[in-house]
């Protein structure tokens, strides 16, 4: 096997022209967050364990998405999984807007799964809605209330639609759904 003549050329990430850069993700969460996004038709580049001077431990993950946009649900879970995240919107090759901290909406939808096995959303299916009772802070865990069964879930027990809990994600225990 011959080495490429110009290794820097093929390793370089192609710049985003119109799209989103999700930066400063906690290391180990990038692939899971990517999995929650609808990236099937988009050109997406995940970057893992990049150097960071902002995140304790000195490493971060980053996701470059050409095209597409993020829903309020998706932004909400990014903020929950990785409170350090910054979202940069790129328009015509330039930074148009930067958001940090990423807001968690008052209500989240199908991106979460109710952890109550007796909840109608698990037994009969259908759409899901969760009221956000507590935004994640340094002192208070994230808390949500299922609109249907009215059960409350907090912090590490909050479950994503892929089946994993926040605790699983933080420990790196997840699989791709595709």
């Amino acid at each position: 096997m011959t080495a490429p003549t110009e290794p820097r050329e093929y390793m370089r990430i192609r710049p985003i022209h119109n799209g989103t850069v999700i930066d400063h993700l906690l290391p180990g969460t990038g692939l899971f967050i990517l999995n929650l996004l609808d990236y099937t038709t988009l050109r997406v580049t995940p970057g893992l364990n990049y150097n960071s001077d902002r995140i304790p431990g000195g490493k971060k993950d980053i996701i470059y998405m050409e095209g597409g946009d993020l829903t309020a649900d998706q932004m909400g879970v990014i903020a929950v999984i990785s409170p350090s995240a910054t979202i940069n919107w790129i328009v015509d090759g330039k930074l148009s807007r930067k958001t940090h901290p990423v807001p968690v909406p008052d209500e989240l939808g199908d991106i979460l799964l109710c952890s109550n096995a007796k909840c109608t959303t698990n037994t009969e299916g259908g759409s899901r809605r969760f009221k956000v009772l507590q935004q994640p802070t340094d002192t208070d865990p994230f808390r949500v209330l299922c609109r249907y069964c009215e059960k409350e879930f907090y912090g590490p027990l909050v479950r994503f639609y892929t089946g994993q809990t926040l605790k699983d994600v933080r420990r790196g225990r997840f699989e791709f759904r595709r």
């Binding site: 109550n116 909840c119 109608t120 037994t123 009969e124 299916g125 259908g126 249907y148 069964c149 009215e150």
Partner: protein, 344 residues
Amino acid sequence: MVTIGFDKCPDEVYKRFEGRHIISIRDFDRQDIECIISNALSMAELLKKDHRQARHLLEGQRMGVIFYEPSTRTVLSFETAMELLGGSVSGIKDPKVSSAVKGETLADTIRVMAGYFYDFFVIRHYDEGSVRRASEHSRYPANNMNEGKTIPAINGGDGSNQHPTQTVCTDMPTVVKHFGTLDGLVYLFNNDLKNGRTVHSFVEGLMLCKPKKLYFCSPTQLRTPENILRECAAHGIAFEQIPRYEDALPEVDVFYDTRPQLEREQLPDDLKGKIRAVYTVRADEIRSKAKKEMIILHPLPRDSKFNSPEYAVDSLPQARYFEQSHMGVAGRAGLLCLLKGVRL
């Protein structure tokens, strides 16, 4: 907290109810609760005077009952209320003879029945949140002159989640009838506080009031859910979890007993034995320690295997659980009138 009292309900509050679903106590504010209680008490007076006078109030209206779990009081009181108001009732009272056995979801059942000219649905289902889901599909379809309008769906119990009409049509009107208020009273909830949905609804209703104190008395395994206790604290309501009810008894105004919900959670024999020994409401304790004005409520049925309150309590002046059960007819009749904009 804006209150309107329990006399005549103002028009602006009355109008909120027309076509409204009754799913959870969490959907109410204080005025809503007072309005429903005021209607319950007015209806109780009307029925006591001459129940035939109510016969024209909902004449020609149809109620669909969908009960996938056993019920005596809830289904019968709704049916009786509807008949007293001049309406009619039909529906499903045994899921084994409905398409549920073929895998039909409750949401689909409602979509079908919505086209059968019903004006209300009363639903009891074992899945938590099922009635809220069903309510999303409860509207008149194209075959009805009211196309697109809501058909009120009433939660008759969804698993161990909520039983709002037990609270606002039965329990609270009984308290108000005796004390003239819901505020400033000491409430004690006894026995299975984990699975008893009537307790959850009642306590959530009290969060809209100013009770003096709440006592929660249950075995450790059947304690009140943490989120309800947290909400009590957030509302500034004083509460205490106690292992036995006797010591608190002299302070209590409303003693709310329940039964272990064995249909929702199997309990080990030693716990059943402890429940019999410690949590049974005993006549000698009531006689010796309770205030004379205290009222004992129970959503019923009384499980004969646990016999609480014991039968000797029935003859004490504090025993009000049958009266409470009778209030359910007037309370539900009053609610049905509210939902159709019929003023009493």
